[in-house]
């Protein structure tokens, strides 16, 4: 899996801060006090990096508890269950939402969008 990323992706993921808290949305306090904060911090850093390199490619927001996330990317959506489970299991708790976007959705978009355009499934808005 690791071999499939390009060097840019690898460089990008290295700059995203790693998470330390082991908690989920059901762990109310630990989640809100630590884990959610770390998630937001890494997302902010990743978005800043993208902005700096003129490669901003998504927007994301959550509810107040951080239990529901929504956003938009420039094209497609990502499945983060089975396909990326080995990666997450291996890097738990360090990888968060930002890492999932960087390592999962971004390469997928880069591979699939040109194909879909070629097939005529999506069209560029002019």
């Amino acid at each position: 899996m690791a071999e499939s990323w390009d060097s840019g992706t690898k460089e990008a993921v290295k700059q995203i801060p790693l998470l330390t808290s082991i908690a989920g949305p059901r762990d109310k306090q630990e989640w809100q006090e630590k884990r959610l904060k770390q998630e937001l911090q890494s997302l902010i850093k990743y978005i800043q990096l993208n902005k700096q390199t003129d490669s901003d490619w998504f927007t994301i927001t959550s509810n107040k508890d951080g239990t529901h996330w929504s956003g938009k990317c420039w094209g497609g959506k990502i499945c983060l269950t089975v396909h990326f489970k080995p990666l997450w299991a291996k890097n738990s708790p360090h990888f968060g939402i930002a890492h999932a976007l960087c390592l999962g959705l971004a390469p997928w978009l880069a591979a699939e969008i040109p194909y879909m355009i070629g097939e005529g499934a999506i069209k560029v808005k002019s």
Binding site: Q32, L36, K37, L40, I44, N50, Q52, T53, K64
Partner: protein, 815 residues
């Protein structure tokens, strides 16, 4: 960051997303932007981009970089390499190079895709100058090859710098220095001066390593040689691109003269090896005193040498082959020419003395030797005449010598004067056909006895050598014996036979003379005289034969008459015993076999002599035949009988038959008388007076033998006939087996001696039996003693018969 509240962080996330992204251009965006600017004409036409497409440069910058790169490369670089180095398309490089060359005014050249600066060509010129100074001669082709430039560029470069940076002469693509030319001429001059044998100019230059010197302008070896010859620095000649030094010509002439003086001759073939290409003319000019022959020129001293050899041979009564005296390898015709100039021969010919004879081209035979050989040839002719005549005398059934067909050489060897081959063979092989000598050459024998049956032509005409020539055979059969003899003898003196004989006399003459013809020519020279001698010898032999034959016939006649009388005398003795038939038959048979046979032999010999008389043969041979007649086998007589005339042949056959088988002496006597009459003899009847006289002579002879006889059996065989004469007054031939019968017959008339005679006979028989036994018994020894004791009495008894003979009693005589 942990100090921030959750809300702050969410607000920070929202604000971070709300910030505008930094705008950054990629290389591709930039390339597209530049292309767009070019399309819009905002950048002008002089902008070029590199082959990678990431760099842009102006044409001025490219030109500058090109020149710098060429300078860095040493003043010469190819455009392809430059395009690679600068990362600019080669088209742009070529355009800028062309523009740069135009603007350089000769300082920069573009040659076959390469940019070459003037400084590079200056360097090339300096290197050429260095090579020129080092080697003296440089080929522009080599320079072009060395610097990988075309020859035109090199030529123009060198030409432009001649006299400035390059010091030499350029001619026909060859650059050389004056010193180099002087060096070459000096080397060639040295080589020519040092040459001791002819050498081709090309070979000389090759050996000097100057193969290319011939191409040097202004260099010509012929002109150089002429120049050196004119200056006197060289001695020799230069013809057909070959230098011949004078020392070589002098050495050749010296060798030619040395050979001539040493060997006395020089062959024209050899003259070429001495440098005299014209051969004969050259040698004649060189040796005016020499004698020009077909193969070479000869010194007059050679003739002196030949003269000396001839004189020696003539003084030794010998012969000489002048080719052995003349220089070797001369032709036979040359030797003949030399002989014709010989003083020894010409003196003799001028004087007419002919001390020598010139034969077989190159041989000289002294007259003395020639006379000796002629004598031998004449002797051979005489022997041939004798042997031929002897051969003709042989009966037809007798064989010719060498019936198996010996080789001509061996036959000739037998023809030596001491042993005539035909005479020898006639002794050795008497039963073969002498005519088969000539037939033997074709490997067959044919009895000529058939001719005897014809009677009309009894002559044993020899067959011709060739069976094919029947006409020749017929002609020969008509020849006289003398002619046949001459022909046969002439064969023994054929040219080939005589040649072989000459080689036997003078073995050293083999292979002598031109084409080994000496023996042949000598034989041809000897033959006419030898044939004349043969004629003479044959005539002499036939003439002498007639007289001798007469004497022989007279002897035979006398002997035959005597034997006839003895036959009758002994026959009458036999008749006295006719009462005892068995004894009578045995006595007659013995008489016929002994006396009758002898008489028959004599009569046949007489007939043979008559026959030879008719054939004209020599008496000497006939005598020889007669002497051996008594021992001649019956087969020869039969053959002779077949050759005799018909009447004589019939009588002779009857007489021989009678002698061989008859037991009646009177019948046999009649046949023999008929045979004698056929030969013209008249047999006389034996009268009583003559018979008495004969008996008396016979008696005397027996008594003389008896007196000297000491052997008892032999004495008895002599005594009994004597006693028979005493009793019967008849002579008798008593064979051993009839002794007892005669003794018993005599015992009645011998009174008291009868017992003695019979006892003596018994003792003789006993003694002979004893001697026949393997061991000597005592009784045999006793018998011998008794016989020795009684032998004197027997002699006395036999001797006393003499008186009885003198006064014979009257007895019945059947005759």
């Amino acid at each position: 960051m942990e100090d921030f509240s959750l809300e702050d962080l969410q607000a920070a996330l929202a604000s971070a997303q709300a910030q505008k992204s930094t705008i950054r251009l990629s290389e591709r965006n930039v390339v597209e932007l530049v292309s767009k600017l070019q399309q819009l004409g905002l950048l002008g036409d002089s902008l070029l981009h590199s082959t990678s497409g990431k760099e842009y440069l102006t044409v001025e910058h490219l030109r500058r970089e090109l020149l710098e790169a060429v300078e860095e490369a040493g003043g010469r670089e190819s455009l392809i390499e430059l395009a690679g180095q600068l990362g600019v398309d080669i088209v742009h490089c070529q355009q800028e190079a062309t523009a740069a060359v135009k603007e350089s005014r000769g300082a920069l050249l573009e040659v076959h895709g390469q940019l070459i600066t003037a400084s590079y060509l200056d360097g090339l010129a300096s290197e050429v100058q260095e090579s020129l100074q080092e080697m003296g001669c440089v080929r522009l082709g080599d320079v072009a090859r060395r610097f990988s430039l075309n020859t035109d560029l090199v030529t123009s470069t060198i030409t432009a710098r001649l006299g400035s940076s390059i010091h030499g002469k350029l001619d026909q693509q060859l650059l050389y220095t004056a010193a180099h030319m002087r060096r070459i001429k000096a080397r060639v001059r040295g080589a020519l001066a040092g040459a001791t044998f002819p050498i081709a100019a090309s070979t000389l230059l090759k050996e000097l390593g100057l193969e290319g010197a011939g191409a040097l302008p202004g260099f010509s070896i012929s002109s150089l040689v002429e120049e050196l010859l004119a200056e006197g620095q060289l001695r020799g000649s230069y013809k057909a691109s070959t230098w011949t030094p004078a020392i070589y010509q002098e050495a050749q002439q010296a060798a030619l003269h040395r050979t001539y003086n040493q060997d006395g001759y020089v062959r024209y073939e050899e003259a070429a090896s001495f440098g005299a290409a014209s051969g004969k003319a050259h040698l004649q000019a060189a040796f005016p005193e020499g004698i020009a022959l077909d193969a070479g020129i000869v010194s007059p001293s050679v003739i002196d040498h030949i003269d000396a050899g001839l004189d020696e041979a003539l003084s030794n009564s010998s012969w000489v082959d002048a080719s052995t005296l003349a220089p070797p390898l001369l032709l036979s015709s040359d030797v003949e020419q030399l002989l014709s100039r010989s003083a020894s021969l010409s003196k003799g010919q001028q004087a007419g003395t002919h001390a020598a004879v010139h034969l077989a081209g190159t041989c000289v035979v002294s007259s003395a030797l020639l006379d000796t050989l002629q004598g031998k040839a004449n002797a051979l002719a005489e022997e041939a005449a004798k042997s031929t005549q002897q051969m003709l005398l042989k009966p037809a059934g007798a064989s010719q010598p060498d019936a198996a067909g010996p080789s001509p050489a061996s036959r000739q060897r037998e023809c030596s004067p001491t042993t005539p081959p035909i005479a020898k063979a006639s002794k050795d092989v008497p039963d073969d056909d002498w005519e088969s000598d000539v037939k033997g050459k074709r490997g067959s024998k044919r009895k000529s006895g058939k001719k005897g049956g014809k009677g009309s032509n009894p002559s044993p005409s020899p067959e011709p050598p060739s069976a094919a020539s029947k006409s020749s055979t017929a002609a020969r059969s008509k020849q006289t014996p003398a002619q046949q003899a001459k022909d046969m003898a002439a064969k023994q003196l054929s040219l080939a036979a005589l040649q072989q004989q000459v080689l036997e006399w003078q073995p050293d003459m083999e292979a002598a003379g031109s084409e080994a013809q000496l023996a042949s020519e000598l034989a041809a020279r000897l033959r006419p005289a030898a044939l004349a001698e043969l004629d003479k010898a044959l005539s002499r032999l036939f003439a002498s034969g007639n007289e001798s034959r007469k004497q022989l016939k007279a002897q035979l006649l006398s002997k035959a008459e005597s034997e006839m009388q003895q036959l009758q005398m002994f026959g009458h003795g036999c008749d006295a015993c006719s009462a005892d038939e068995e004894l009578y038959t045995a006595l007659q048979r013995h008489l016929v076999r002994s006396t009758g046979q002898e008489l028959l032999d004599l009569l046949l010999s007489y007939h043979e002599a008559m026959y030879q008389d008719q054939m004209g043969m020599s008496a000497a041979t006939s005598k020889q035949e007669h002497e051996s007649s008594s021992s001649r086998p019956a087969a020869e007589w039969v053959q002779l009988i077949q050759q005799l005339p018909e009447d004589a042949s019939t009588a002779a056959a009857s007489a021989m038959q009678s002698v061989q088988s008859s037991s009646d002496w009177q019948a046999c006597s009649a046949q023999l008388e008929a045979l004698s009459e056929a030969a013209g003899l008249r047999a006389r009847k034996l009268d009583k007076k003559a018979e008495r006289s004969l008996v008396h002579l016979h008696c005397k002879a027996l008594q003389e033998q008896l007196q000297s006889e000491e052997n008892p059996p032999a004495a008895l065989s002599l005594a009994v006939p004597l006693l028979f004469i005493r009793v019967h007054h008849k002579a008798l031939l008593v064979p051993g087996r009839c002794l007892l019968g005669i003794c018993q017959r005599l015992s009645a008339s011998l009174d008291e001696h009868a017992t003695f005679l019979l006892e003596f006979h018994d003792l003789v028989v006993a003694s002979l039996k004893g001697q026949g036994a393997s061991t000597t018994t005592a009784s045999a020894g006793t018998c011998d003693e008794k016989l020795q004791q009684q032998l004197p009495r027997l002699k006395v008894l036999a001797a006393s018969s003499d008186s009885i003979v003198q006064q014979p009693p009257s007895i019945s005589n059947t005759l």
